[in-house]
């Protein structure tokens, strides 16, 4: 199938999911309450899931291209843990500030993400190139390190804060409202715009740094701008709904199988698919033990864990 047709199909499926999912599990008879649930709870929740999923998928795609590795994502490389730590410290210290109307927690998470990525990048550079093993191990180490710092923060916090941090760490969309969409949208939009602007450069980065440079790509400049916008995006998502793992790894990989490696098609496909995918996961998370809910991060991780192992085994056998 031609990429353009595949993309149209993905777009149609995404629209269907966007419109149908709010109505699923709507078991109330009173139309007034129904209306309230739909407009005040379900619609913002679905919209938020779409924006967050799209952002996470695109950031994952960028990491996979930049590190030439399907296992490299903001989550596996510890960037999300960095963001989580930033946000946890923000909760612990009891700060509450806004910068031009945007929540301070988002900025704290952004700083955490940026610190984590600087770590991973400089360590992998120091080890002479991006050996996949070094890279992933660095990511794992950094994740552990930040996770224990988060535990430490939690330990120091009082019971309410501690519980708040714990619930949020599981990744949940239960409480999002229109306000959160307004908080999230600017960061994800900036990130999406920059990534869609740089699709040719991403293609060339896949061929290796030397070739990309010789074709005229300012590799270093592009890399830093991509690190910056993905940190913004991941930071904002993590701050608002917790670390929702594995979407950034699964979605771009599935899209690559569907539409190919050309980022001019892959980027819009991952964006739509990622949004739709998180909506589906979130819908499952609120239906599976209804009327109770499980955090959506649990669902994505349950799906993502086996997927990660499958990718790992597959890439191993290819090398051998």
């Amino acid at each position: 199938m031609k990429p353009v047709n595949t993309l149209i199909l993905i777009a149609i499926a995404t629209l269907l999911i966007l419109f149908i999912s709010p109505y699923l599990g709507l078991n109330v008879d009173d139309t007034a309450i129904q209306h309230h649930i739909l407009t005040q709870l379900r619609v913002p929740r679905v919209l938020f899931a779409f924006i967050a999923g799209a952002g996470l998928a695109l950031c994952g795609m960028v990491f996979q291209a930049m590190f030439h590795n399907p296992l490299a994502t903001p989550f596996t490389l510890g960037v999300a843990s960095g963001a989580s730590l930033g946000a946890a410290i923000y909760v612990y210290l009891g700060f509450s500030f806004t910068i031009i109307g945007l929540d301070g927690g988002v900025f704290a998470a952004f700083m955490g993400a940026l610190i984590a990525i600087s770590f991973v990048y400089s360590i992998s550079r120091y080890q002479n190139g991006f050996s996949p093993e070094t890279l992933l191990l660095t990511g794992v180490a950094i994740s552990f390190f930040f996770s224990s710092l988060i535990l430490f923060t939690q330990y120091l916090s009082n019971l309410t804060d501690s519980f708040q941090i714990l619930r949020w760490l599981m990744g949940s969309l239960t409480t999002v409202g229109y306000q959160d969409i307004i908080q999230l949208l600017p960061f994800v939009s900036i990130c999406v715009a920059v990534i869609l602007w740089l699709t040719r450069e991403l293609n060339l980065l896949m061929t290796g740094d030397d070739i990309a440079l010789s074709r005229g790509v300012s590799v270093q400049k592009i890399r830093y701008s991509l690190f910056f916008v993905t940190s913004l995006c991941v930071g904002a998502i993590v701050a608002l709904c917790g670390p929702i793992g594995f979407i950034g790894m699964m979605v771009p990989h599935i899209c690559r199988l569907l539409i190919g490696s050309d980022h001019r098609w892959l980027a819009p496909a991952s964006l739509l698919f990622g949004g739709a995918f998180l909506i589906i996961c979130d819908t499952i998370s609120r239906l599976i033990i209804a009327p109770a809910e499980i955090p959506v991060g649990v669902i994505t991780t349950l799906l993502g864990g086996p997927f990660f192992l499958w990718l790992l085994i597959k890439s191993r056998s290819k090398v051998a």
């Binding site: 602007w197 040719r200 440079l213 010789s214 074709r215 005229g216 790509v217």
Partner: protein, 266 residues
């Protein structure tokens, strides 16, 4: 003759390690220069400096009378193209998409594929004889085919200067000859200036016009390739005795490493 490239007292050090020391040479338009030298002599460092990958603070590189450091990466990519050593990266692209990507330097973010681009693509595919597998996937190519595609992509960039880093190191003899002939053809028929890093002395002596010999980051010798195959010169370069014979068909001089080193048996 016009000077295409001028390297002036270029010194490069990376992480406090001196890799190149005061290298100077000139390349005329249409020249074919081979860079020789033992492993670790700085050959790749020199190529990378010419590609703007490594920036040096000492000395200067001028391309067509313009300082390389003043050029943007895109401007540089319209003057210099590059063929890497055997490529290990997994490339999930079709051949045609890979070659098309080499037109990056002529495009802005959303510009369309133009008539010029199409001509460059057809020209590159014709010369390198890659038209037949333009629609195959990169990872299905054999070593020889892949190297021709790499050269096709570099040609698609339409630069006056082409850099090649050991382009035949991992090829079998047949494909080595094929790639050597292709490079010579580019130089002679299409007036593309070539700089090639190689370990193949006889190839350098027979096919190139000039040779630059590097040793421990310094220029050991720079001269016409016809003067390369001399005992003292090769001995100084590689710490190795050579013996000489002639090619039975062409009568060209050929150097072979001596079986008895240090002149024990002469």
């Amino acid at each position: 003759m016009t000077i295409l490239l001028e390297v002036n007292k270029l010194s490069v050090s990376v992480a406090n390690k001196q890799l190149l020391t005061s290298i100077s040479f000139q390349l005329e338009q249409g020249d074919y220069l081979c860079i020789l030298g033992p492993n670790g002599a700085g050959k790749s460092t020199l190529l990378k400096s010419l590609m703007g990958i490594i920036h040096s603070k000492e000395g200067s590189i001028n391309l067509q009378q313009e300082a390389l450091s003043a050029l943007s990466q895109k401007e540089l990519a319209r003057l210099v193209s590059y063929v890497p050593q055997a490529h290990s990266q997994q490339l999930n692209f079709s051949v045609i998409d890979f070659i098309k990507m080499a037109r990056y330097a002529y495009h802005s973010a959303f510009s369309d594929w133009s008539q010029d681009d199409q001509q460059a693509l057809e020209y590159a595919a014709t010369i390198t004889n890659t038209e037949d597998f333009l629609h195959r996937q990169m990872e299905t190519l054999s070593g020889g085919e892949a190297q021709r595609v790499m050269i096709a992509a570099a040609l698609c960039q339409q630069t006056p200067l082409l850099l090649l880093d050991e382009p035949t190191s991992f090829l079998d003899p047949h494909h080595q000859v094929e790639v050597h002939q292709l490079i010579q053809n580019l130089n002679q028929q299409h007036n593309i200036s070539i700089i090639e890093v190689t370990h193949d002395l006889n190839h350098a002596a027979q096919h190139s016009q000039h040779v630059l010999a590097l040793k421990q980051g310094k220029k050991l010798w720079h001269g016409p390739s016809s003067e390369l195959l001399e005992t003292s010169r090769l001995q100084a370069l590689y710490q190795q005795q050579f013996v000489f014979t002639t090619h039975p068909q062409t009568g060209a001089a050929i150097a072979l490493p001596s079986e008895f080193n240090n002149g024990e048996h002469q």
